[in-house]
Amino acid sequence: MKIKLNKKLLLVSAILLTALIVTTGLIGHKKVDYNTEVKPLFNKKCISCHGGVKKESGFSLLFRSEALGKTESGKPAIIPGDPDGSEMIKRLTTNDPEDRMPYKHDPLSSKEIDMLKQWIKEGAQWGEHWAYVKIKPVEVPDVSGGFFGGGDDGKWVKNEVDHFIYAKLKEEGLTPSPEADKATLARRLSLDITGLPPTPEIVKKFENDNRPDAYERLADSLLASPQYGERWTAMWLDLARYADSKGYEKDGYRSIWRYRDWLIKAFNEDMPYDRFLTEQLAGDLLPNATDDQLIATAFSRNSMNNDEGGTDNEEFRTSEVIDRINTTWETLLGTTFACVQCHSHPYDPFKHEEYYKFMAFFNNTRDEDVPGDYPVLREFNQEDQAKFDSLKKWLLENASKEETHEMMSFVKTWQPAIYSYHADNFINCQLSEVYLALRQDASCRLPAVPLNNREQLTYRYTSGIPDGKWEIHVDSVNGLKIAATIIPPSKGWTIHTINIIPVDGVHDLYFTYTNPHAEKGSQNNLATFDWFNFSSAFPGKGKPGYDTAFAHYKYLMAANAKQQTPIMMENPKEMFRPTHLFVRGSWLNKGPEEQPDVPHSLNPLPANAPKNRLGLAMWLTGKDNPLTARTMVNRIWEQLMGQGIAETLEDLGTQGIAPTHQQLLDWLSWKFMYEDKWSIKKLVKRIVMSATYRQTSVASDESLKKDPFNKFYARGPRVRLSAEQIRDQALAVSGLLSYKMFGKSVMPYQPNGIWRSPYDGNVWEKSTGEDQYRRAIYTYWKRTSPYPTMLSFDGTAREVCLARRIRTNTPLQALATLNDNAFLEMARHLATRMEKEGGEDVAMQISKGYEMTMFHPISKEKLEALQKLYNQAVAAFKKDKEKACEMINNGNDKTDAGKASLILVANAMLNLDEFITKN
């Protein structure tokens, strides 16, 4: 409401307005609101029997069309405009217990029934849930004048965010708090934007900067620092369920840290959020996809792989696809979609079959839960990369674009490959784990291989014996022989290419294998295969340089890759996999085939969108999508303010907790898309520049009483730091922190005996040098055994995505920061800094230590408490010299009770509530 009138007029209109509200209220003409009055009542009392799961008596209240339709009794339950004729009202009011609804539950109150009657009388209109409505421009509440006098209201306000907050505070009878002191503000801002405390220099500079835009300058410089990307990546890794292991029994290593590094760079470059999502969901489908864009797709490859012997690859492939769908909805769209897997959504407008239409977008990738984590992006060392570049150059000059792409893509990814576990009809051979293992006089079948224009077979195998004769026949063991070769012994897995006789169509291939050196009936595996690739012939035969190029090609495909990162790759047409609905969610019970589409209750797929993941990304990042921007804005708000505008980040649907400031959420979302062009940095800045954010977190009695959970923001945010921030901050203040960025995950100190996975030889090998002191996002994350302090501070195993960490406060957290040797080491270094910078006097040293951690002077009482601890410790360490030695732990046995005591004080400082809290 934008009213700019003088005060007198305003007063008059206010009285008139009040009168109007009162009279209309009396006459009872206020229209019933579906969203806030009817839908919650349906959800609570009716929908469990008449909704998406059960449709008792053929009646459902989920969609208007269903609710007004015919029921089993033949009578429509709701006749718009005619409450008394509507069967629903009759059933709510009848005295017959067999007919009266809710069945076998307490009846609705007469107030509720009157409300429903009035709603039907008014036409039984279905409202749309706020989160499913397209984001429109929102007018900013004007707080400059104030409604009832008092011209100072506008003074507190710093930007538009505050208008929304202030208007609500007024409604609730709350007063905002003043700005926090500069030191607190600098620490808060730095922890929020970079995940690290500020340096003392930064704080000092800020404190001495009296320019009006000093705060903005600080915010800008923090946003520009490389640590910004690391902090926001830490948040995103929960959403992406990033881990350095595959999950399940063996839980072996997965090399996917390139994806983590991609995130850091993307955040630091402030990649627009729409592109950020597009590359992660469909980078492989972008025209001329770069290696970076392929690595971005690892977002979806963070699903778990089950390498346990004997597991059904198709079962776990399917479960990975389902995981990708649920992750996409819960983290990017703030919607709980998982329940639609088994039945229509009980509360929200999503139908059972829509889950599988959505699945069809994700169901055609080359990954099949094989131990190699294929498809992977293979990265060459410098020398091989030069070969790769020259091969590419030669191909571009001597072959068609398509041929070049096929060859180069194969060298980079080994795709498209048929994995050997597809073989069957075994005679004298078997699957060894998931690998086809041939023995003496073996034969087996590789079913349904598309062979049109295929002249070359490339395969990955291992064999320990020379002279094995391998033949490939079409359609039967005695059918046309299209290839015959001798399999030489190999050093481990290796790759060979042979020519095959071209055959048209799709055929079953029959393999035979005999070896002159093996005994008849021997049960030894003689040749074991990983995958097969049938391709066109290497192009450019006869052209100059062909031999070298072909040799490079063969060399590169077998060359050791420096890094192999799992990526998404679409099936080629002839490997298309149809998608079926799973009846009641069971993957073994397949219903009708489904085509890719998005739920009809949301915006439709854009007209020009292809029906694949790229089209899906276009839909998701289109400005018509009501959920994408709201979900992200809500999440960023939560990160900065301690809780979401809608608290349930994972569920903006009708069962989620309603937003406290829906207009603000929409306004920020609109700005995010249209004005800031999806810039996350601008969004962060918009929020931190507000007076709302800058308030002191000291709670006044009034705000504590009226708003104990700070839902209306009459004070600044005060929340415990995240697990990552707690480690990083302690490393930073102790001076140990390594600022090294990127690379393979590291293993900082961890107590012995934490990793004990069966059938997995990997051990926790403590990193050396600065790698022990890297930021928490670089710590190796093993799903079945995550880093202990990450877990105690509410991190999860990252088995599935986590849209929101719930903060707890437990004694195990206290034990970790008190007793973990990693934290004690930080305390030792902090004590050394205190000694060095605090001078001779103990009180000065403690004060200095406090300033190094909190950036403002210590109070008298706090100093007293810590000094008392110091004195107690000195007395004790003087008596027990051995303990003092252990405390100092510097390799010599010189005891120094003072130093040991200072370490104990530093250890206490790293445990203070204000230290592990954002104030």
Binding site: T36, S48, G310, Q430, R756, S757, T810, N819
Partner: protein, 503 residues
Amino acid sequence: MTKKELNNQRLFSEANHEALHFVTRRHFLRDSVSGLGAMALGSLLAGCDWLGSKDKAAIAFDSANPLAGKPPLFPGKARSVIYLHMAGAPSQLELFDYKPDLIKLDGQDCPQSLLEGKRFAFIRGVPKMLGPYAHFEQRGESGAWISDHLPHLITVADELSFLKAVKTDQFNHAPAQLLMHTGSARLGRPSIGAWASYGLGTENSNLPAFVVLTSGGRNPDAGKSVWGSGFLPSVYQGVQCRSEGDPVLFINNPEGISKDMRKASIDAINAVNHQSYREFKDPEILSRISQYEMAYKMQMSVPEAMDISDEPEYIHKMYGTQPGKESFANNALLARKLVEKGVRYVQLFDWGWDSHGTSAGDSLEIAFVNKCRSVDRATTALLLDLKQRGLLDETLVVWGGEFGRTPMQENREGKVQAYKGRDHHAEAFTIWMAGGGLKKGSSYGETDPVGYSAISGQVSPFDIQATILNQLGFNHETFTYEFQGRHFRLTDVAGRVINEIIA
């Protein structure tokens, strides 16, 4: 009491008092943002009746004191649970499910009817049948069949309630263990111990509510997720207590910090925190103060609770314990100590029961016999010890694996194996329970003459979970937690209390 101690005690009780007033808004939000959301929120608590249940149980989650003792929904017969999980899945055919017909079929080809449409983890083609490698007799008054592999357990046969026809639908270790303990073969759901501590809290605030003890040199195949909290707040996950290193991670002070110094430093931390509370008035600070007090109490009580060395000699003899080593026996004795002290749920995992017969190390002839020997005495001692302390009636003991073993000899990759061994088998296996209000000396369910599948009294992991919850005082259909828009149950949409074995 010194003045300081008095002051601390006052501070502590004040903190607790404040904390109780301050039930934070998490999932179980009772108030709401404004009038608007109130009704929608009400329905959060009312629940989703489509699962066929009546009134949902809303357990209040108080983040300031999440493990406070809470009464069950109805008076349960068991106060606590000790779950002895033999990870890797012991062979029912060598221990409890006596099949004389299988002896006759030993070495013959497996009939096609048992193989058609079935998948096995390692068996390929047509395997041979394998007779039991054990001598069976009926034991006790109840006449339960138990083999000679368990010479101690036979003496307490009349305490046991057998489930002879348990069927699971997972034949790989990790998923099957997850199904058994979390109600889902996929990762991400809370374990039964987490549910129990969420629902009941702990009776002893100085100890965790849910303790996990492992032996056999390895963690179970599904890793820490089998005692994870899934979508429940992480505070409800099992706390792994270890026999080497700190009994609970970080419970011991680092070298260089004595008990007194730790106490002094916690006092100092709390004194500073109290100043911070005066400054910020944030009730979360009071909660932190009480957590640090609690941490210190745990430091005092956990090592003591985890120390078995002061047990009398006859107890050590009874269990076969050797203090200081990692063993199932030590863990069994610990389980008794912990339950005695009020721990709600003690979960043991003993790794190494995966008798495939590919080598001596996983053979029925050697490795399996050794495994039996390593648990037999201690398991029996645990039952007798609980009984002599009057604890067996209120402690539910469960013994079993994640699935059973095939009546066929394994033939990995279609090869003849050098040792006797059996593949994973999901169709039928045996689990026994004891104490906690169950029928003594009973047996429920029966398998066919070769022990391949159930012919009567078939039960599922969900039924076992429903029964455990029932004995603790929870209806598994109404004990739920709101997550991702629905009310989740441990037993999902299945489960039946096995009334046939309840006394």
